[in-house]
């Protein structure tokens, strides 16, 4: 008989630029080593996952990270009292900090997580990427964190156009002139706060790698993917698993040098000289994580097993040439359900 876990998952916004939650849940439900009851954690009443009752048993509203750790912990304690959670898998960059902070208190309450350490989380921040790259000998495009719009006129001495203007958690725009740089700086700082990161634009082909580190320097899984179809928001709408030895060795180096704990995504650009440049490290699983299941490596399943203290062996089988193609789908929902989640915070 298989063990049954109650696992809470965030990131249910399966929209045009989706959170990873639904993909993580699909992977969990296909886990061979355990059964799962999935509890959804949502910030907004229109997150599509709330209404996907065939995937999610029950969904609860939780407060935004900006409300503070105390509020979030209180809400999770209530959810735990009802659902008896075994584990929480947070899937947004912006919520990782409070969850890492709360991890030991959650563990005391019997809720496991498998997250990067605070040091790992901080070290790979976009604002510290150049420092990170130097330390671990990884190529990155030149970048700089700006804390004020008054620094903008000086950046042309360091960067040429086009350049990428990025938020500290999310959003990236390509600016072709000073006016655009200023406009994107203002837009991003209003939404995500400061600093805003300026990164030299690299022309090339986009590759991503997702994987799982056991926290002791060992790679449990590595799945490289080439983006085949990219949306206007820069998200992969289609991709294919590939077998590139350089990507495997670079990722193994990253995991062993940082002793990375948990899921992650490396965003890379292969430039015209064929060299990979690391654009970003996301400290969580990506929205395309279900491709890992297609390629024979169920990363969310292995992550749960690590959280449960099991000895997990690295995946050996990897299928090249597996593609994911995302699609949109309109659900019909009774207004009563929307009313219930909006007013009671539960559905």
């Amino acid at each position: 008989m298989k063990r049954r876990y109650n696992i809470a998952v965030t990131g249910l916004n399966a929209i045009d630029s989706p959170g990873p939650g639904i993909a993580v849940i699909r992977a969990l439900r296909e886990a061979a080593s355990f059964d799962v009851k999935v509890i959804g954690l949502a910030y907004e009443s229109l997150e599509p996952g709330i209404y996907m009752h065939d995937l999610i048993h029950r969904t609860y509203h939780i407060p935004y990270p900006s409300a503070g750790v105390a509020h979030l912990f209180e809400r999770l304690s209530y959810i735990h009292s009802v659902e008896n959670l075994d584990m929480i898998i947070p899937n947004f960059d912006a919520e990782l900090f409070p969850f890492i902070k709360m991890a030991s208190r959650l563990a005391e309450a019997g809720i496991r997580t498998f997250l990067p350490t605070l040091e790992q989380f901080e070290e790979r921040q976009k604002t510290r990427l150049p420092e990170f790259a130097r330390k671990y000998s990884i190529d990155v495009p030149h970048s700089k964190a700006l804390y004020s719009a008054s620094e903008l006129p000086d950046i042309t001495s360091e960067f040429s156009y086009p350049m990428v203007v990025k938020g500290k958690y999310y959003d990236a725009y390509i600016a072709h002139n000073p006016e655009q740089t200023y406009a994107y700086f203002t837009k991003i700082s209003a939404k995500w706060g400061l600093p805003v990161i300026i990164q030299q634009y690299v022309q090339g082909t986009e590759y991503n790698v997702t994987g799982l580190g056991d926290g002791k320097g060992r790679a449990i899984s590595i799945v490289p993917m080439r983006k085949q179809y990219i949306t206007d928001k820069g998200k992969a709408w289609g991709g294919i698993s590939i077998d590139d030895e350089e990507l495997f060795s670079m990722t193994r180096r990253f995991i062993s040098a940082t002793r990375w704990r948990g899921g992650f995504e490396l965003e890379l650009m292969k430039d015209s000289s064929g060299k990979f440049q690391l654009m970003e490290i996301n400290p969580r699983m990506p929205a395309w994580i279900y491709l890992s299941v297609g390629a024979g490596q169920n990363i969310p399943e292995a992550l749960v097993r690590l959280a449960m203290g099991e000895e997990v062996q690295p995946y050996e089988h990897f299928e090249v040439g597996k593609m994911f193609i995302r699609y949109s789908w309109d659900m019909i929902v009774d207004v009563g359900e929307y009313h219930q989640i909006s007013t009671t915070g539960e559905l």
């Binding site: 082909t205 590759y207 993917m225 080439r226 085949q228 991709g239 294919i240 698993s241 590939i242 077998d243 590139d244 030895e245 064929g274 090249v320 040439g321």
Partner: protein, 87 residues
């Protein structure tokens, strides 16, 4: 001798997939024939004579087309790097 990279897959219909880069290409039947000959370890000279005997084409045109095609294979890194020298 030039060699097509071992892991490059090509179907009979001419769909070519490079698992290292994720790139895929469509190749016409003549291209499929050339790739198969390269796979079999045939030299460029052998491929030239094979092509001239199979198709109604003059040597100059065939040479130009063959070099164009080989250039394409090199450009997309479908040939092992250490085997690029001409025979």
């Amino acid at each position: 001798m030039m060699k097509i990279k071992k892991n490059v897959a090509i179907s009979e219909s001419g769909y070519l997939f490079n698992p290292g880069t994720g790139e895929s290409f469509s190749v016409n039947p003549i291209g499929v024939g050339i790739i198969q000959m390269l796979r079999e370890g045939k030299s460029e000279d052998e491929i030239r004579s094979e092509m001239l005997s199979q198709y109604d084409i003059d040597a100059d045109t065939m040479e130009k087309d063959l070099q164009d095609f080989i250039g394409f294979l090199k450009q997309y890194a479908l040939i092992d790097n250490n085997d690029e020298k001409k025979v």
